[in-house]
């Protein structure tokens, strides 16, 4: 009897036992976050109704099954991996042919172009406001976090700067511009403003240790929001800004005024689609250029990069400014579409949301940022509109927070990793290299 309990103890501390504990813990957490909301003044209500009810058995059972499957996988990992890899290689093999690849790009774009015709009005709006905008934002942040390895937690501040620039130049802020412009012509100005803000903030802070950048950008995001909310004489204060004009094009004999309200969704969808494609192409070209290689070099080993003649500060500022301008760009687009700015919306939480989208898809991976952002944003809106009894919209960040931790533990490279990134993470795990630009500078060579 004693021997058996000893064996159990040893087993429970071994890899299998620890994994079982982990899965059970995960199942309990899942039971808690899908459980009922707590009652005000009764802190134990939510916990009791999540854990001390029959439903918890289903969760634990699911955890044990997941553990069983994972054990199965771990035992046979080495045997199955080559087969999995081979199947995958076979599946992507045709795409190494240029024509197939371009054909599939055209097909995807065509599908994207047809999409608004087959979805409802609600989903058209979600697709533009929640998915398209965030895909663009995620692509921009991917340059900062993914390519350059810098953690920017104030990303949405630049979005706000873009949106307020649009409001300023269209003459709806309490302060008036020298000339009133149509938002379409504001785009370059707003992008410049966001980029300038990025450079001004980045130049002093990007010299610092990488994790300080995170906290400074966090503070900056908070400051910008406070300023927008408080400085009523300039920004209109917490009531926000209304009456931002919609885009209109009036050149070369083309006259087009973007519609407002529900009619605006489809035209803005196509506009966003164009910009997302442009962003994908631009960032792809950057990644595979001298600039992109310099980012990789800095991310991997800043000291060695400097010894190779790369100025880390210059390239970090560049990445930061490119991210900022993408964010500002999205800000103008969104502000002119919905016609108003509510500054209370643009909290740090929104920056974190975009970060989560990038992390989920795969830092440094363009298809990752694209598909990751689209999938998560689709998912959260699907859950929101479906009214499942177990899902409360306000709990979104409980799910996202848990998702981020799980991703960092099991798949830090994201669902569609970039080749370079997953190599780096793999190597870092073997103790080679650092895989980000966060190592303290001046660490002796």
């Amino acid at each position: 009897m004693k021997a058996r309990s000893d064996r159990l103890l040893v087993w429970s501390r071994g890899p299998d036992g620890r994994r079982l504990a982990g899965f059970t813990f995960g199942a309990l957490i899942l039971a808690l976050i899908t459980g009922p909301e707590g009652l005000e003044g009764n802190p134990t209500y939510g916990v009791i109704h999540s854990w001390l009810r029959p439903r918890v058995i289903a969760f634990i059972a699911a955890g044990v099954i997941a553990w069983f499957l994972s054990t199965f996988w771990v035992r046979n990992r080495d045997r199955w991996r080559p087969a999995v890899r081979e199947t995958w290689q076979g599946a992507i093999e045709p795409f190494s042919d240029r024509r197939v690849r371009w054909g599939s790009y055209v097909g995807l774009i065509a599908a994207a172009a047809l999409l608004p015709q087959v979805i409802s009005g609600t989903w058209q709006e979600i697709t533009v406001d929640q998915i398209g905008t965030y895909v663009l934002l995620a692509l921009g942040l991917n340059v900062v976090v993914g390519f350059a390895g810098l953690l920017d937690l104030g990303y949405i501040a630049f979005y706000l700067i873009g949106a307020y620039s649009a409001a300023y130049w269209t003459g709806v802020l309490p302060v008036h511009p020298p000339i009133v412009l149509n938002p379409f012509w504001v785009l370059p100005l707003a992008v410049l403003a966001a980029m300038a803000a990025g450079v001004i903030l980045g130049t002093p802070t990007l010299r610092l240790r990488g994790d300080y950048l995170a906290i400074v950008t966090l503070g900056f995001g908070e400051i910008i929001q406070i300023v927008a909310n408080t400085l009523g004489s300039v920004t209109g204060g917490a009531q926000g800004v209304i009456g931002i004009k919609r885009f209109s094009i009036n050149v070369f004999g083309i006259h087009y005024k973007f519609p407002v309200g529900a009619q605006a969704n489809v035209p803005y969808y196509y506009l966003l689609l164009v910009f997302v494609i442009v962003a994908l192409v631009v960032f792809h070209l950057l990644e595979n250029s001298r600039v992109g290689r310099a980012w990789t070099a800095i991310r991997e080993d800043e000291v060695a990069a400097e010894a190779c003649g790369i100025n880390p500060l210059k390239y970090k500022i560049m990445a930061f400014a490119i991210g900022a301008s993408t964010s500002g760009f999205a800000g103008v687009l969104f502000a002119s579409k919905i016609g108003f700015i509510d500054p209370t919306e643009f909290s740090v939480q929104m920056s974190i949301l975009v970060l989560i989208l990038v992390v989920f898809g795969g830092m440094g991976s363009l298809p990752g940022a694209l598909i990751g952002a689209a999938f998560l944003q689709w998912g959260q809106n699907f859950l929101r509109t479906s009214n499942y009894s177990w899902y409360n919209e306000q709990d979104l960040y409980v799910y996202f927070g848990a998702l981020v931790i799980v991703m960092m533990i099991f798949r830090p490279q994201g669902i569609i990793p970039s080749r370079r990134r997953s190599r780096e993470i793999g190597l870092a795990e073997q103790g080679i290299g650092t895989a980000d630009a966060l190592a303290p500078p001046g660490s002796p060579p």
Binding site: V282, T296, E300, V303, C308, I310, G433
Partner: protein, 276 residues
Amino acid sequence: MSEASTVAPNEDLIVSVSEVTLRFGGVTSLSDVSLDQRRGEILSVIGPNGAGKTSLFNCLTGVYEPQEGSIQFCGDPHREPVEVIGRRPNRVSRLGIARTFQTSRLFNALTTFENVKIGVESRQHTGPIGAVLRLPRTRREERESDQRTLELLEFVGLRAQANTLSSALAFGDQRRLEIARALGTEPSLLLLDEPAAGANQSEKAELERVIRRVNSELGISVLLIEHDMRLVMSIAERVVVLNFGEVIATGTPATVQRDKRVIEAYLGTTEDEEAG
């Protein structure tokens, strides 16, 4: 001592270190170090562990900023020498000083080819706008850097491994890849920090051959930190000996080997370093 380490004043020097002192808090890492290197020379810096050899390299490449002294570098004989101290490492690289590291610091997730290309590209000008618009200059630079990279890989004998991940290379190959990457930055002075440390005999021979060719075929001056005395003796024209952050001897390998203070310095530490 400073007198012993300087050469005749009218000689063509590529680098002239004079009276450099480097301190960290209360610890003096280099004290009043002076040394001159002639253009085209292979000069070796030797000394026991902790003598300040790598600190000297870090001063020469802008990683550390010494409190006192001056480092005059003259990459182009037709130009005036310039001060190295006070420049960031990337500026020093632009001047024409390239280096390798004691433990190799390659970009591990990149291929052999990409590693060298990053070095080569440091002399180019493509910025984000050029890269996105694929301007004619960008394309020309791409072509040039690809070609130059392949030449350099050929030069160090790594062309066949161009598409291998640098972390997957054999140890000796990694050392030569680091040299190729440094050569990509078009240096006139190459600093090698213990290139042969941990290498086996055949790797050492290969390294020696590469270093000689860097010097003779490319006309690059080489400053070499090395513990392997056989390598130093066969390759270096002159040797500077550091001990406790001071220069204790300078001269040809043969004279230095007979120097009393040098022998003391080495016997004071471990013997196997001397044997190499």
